[in-house]
Symmetry: C2
DNA sequence: CAGCTGATGTCAGCAACTGTCATCGGGTAC
DNA sequence: GTACCCGATGACAGTTGCTGACATCAGCTG
């Protein structure tokens, strides 16, 4: 791809695509930022203007996901319990992810192969949890319940998402989330 | 501390102590590995022989904690439910941490001030969760329940631990864990 | 006392990331 | 239409985390 020109549009999109391709082709560790930038028709310095580090380029969508979760909790009907509001938010996220399933699988395979990327994913999930808890408090839920419902919801999501990406069949993420919620309820009931 | 000599004992202990001191004094980011090594009477290269990276030096005790959790789950009485086994494990961990409370507080303040360290802590907690789930499966718990009980337990621990380190009074970590378990049960019940 | 072994020191080097300044393209004012 | 302005990019030097390769040293073993 010679000479993309300095002002080609969608620099971020090109960087994200180039990075995912290279991480799949040669692995995360054996890919240098200079290579990503080159494939995107940009320089290394410009990469770091768009993304704080080499990991972040795989998580461009996480802020949108966070907004979706927070918005769904905020707009949950009044009588909903904290866990119901969280469940609704996860269902909304599941619907979005269900679309780009193949992209999600590829991306997850890259993350599963590298510890640094797993760390970044975990802190993104922690950020989602914190945002969910905030949204719940906004609804008048007490501090402790808000944190617990948010953490429990994210735990459910983690497990459901893993099963979804690892499955051979074609069950919906939404189903896995439902099953995991039921499992959590069962496991916490008899304590 | 001039000329510690090449063969002073307890190199790891000296490195951990020096690192924590410097992270407190000047912050994690403004501390170089060379400085840590110097204060410990060693070289930078030797630091990296003991710890994989600059973060890991703060997490030397995590493998012992993991063994404690796994061992407690394994030795839990036969009729214990998954969550009861997990709760017993967390209580055992709490007893250990309750001892070095001041050290835990200092350490946590450093971690709270830096995102890289938070990432590392999160992956350590994820590792604890995976180990707990394994120990539960060893007891015959089904896959899904094992993962869910482990994740829920770690979520409870995270929240209890945070409250414990932030409190002004002197309530025991064990109490916070009990309260958080009760809160989780309440929040998951009415879904 | 000679040799072996494991821990440490020394040195060179790569890649991630940052600060600084120059440069360019596209829009705006007049 | 020309001059100007501004945000995005390039160019380049520098720091630091981290690694590989080889030398060196203390203590043990025979």
């Amino acid at each position: 791809m010679p000479d993309m020109g300095r002002w080609e549009p969608n620099a971020r999109g090109r960087l994200e695509r180039a990075a995912l391709e290279l991480y799949i082709e040669r692995g995360y560790e054996r890919t240098s930022v200079a290579e990503i930038a080159e494939r995107a028709g940009l320089t290394e310095r410009t990469f770091f203007r768009h993304y704080a580090d080499k990991r972040e380029v795989l998580f461009g969508g996480s802020s949108a996901l966070q907004e979706l979760l927070v918005g769904t909790v905020a707009r949950a009907p009044e009588p909903a319990t904290p866990m119901e509001a969280v469940a609704a938010a996860l269902e909304a996220a599941a619907a979005v992810l269900q679309e780009r399933q193949e992209h999600a699988r590829r991306r997850q395979a890259v993350i599963a192969a590298n510890a640094e990327l797993q760390e970044r994913e975990l802190i993104k999930l922690a950020s989602l949890s914190a945002a969910l808890a905030d949204a719940l408090r906004q609804r008048g839920v007490d501090d402790s319940s808000a944190s617990l419902a948010a953490e429990a919801g994210i735990a459910v999501f983690k497990i459901a998402f893993r099963r979804w990406t690892e499955q051979a069949e074609q069950k919906d993420l939404s189903q896995f989330i439902g099953e995991s919620f039921a499992g959590l309820k069962a496991v916490t009931a008899g304590t």
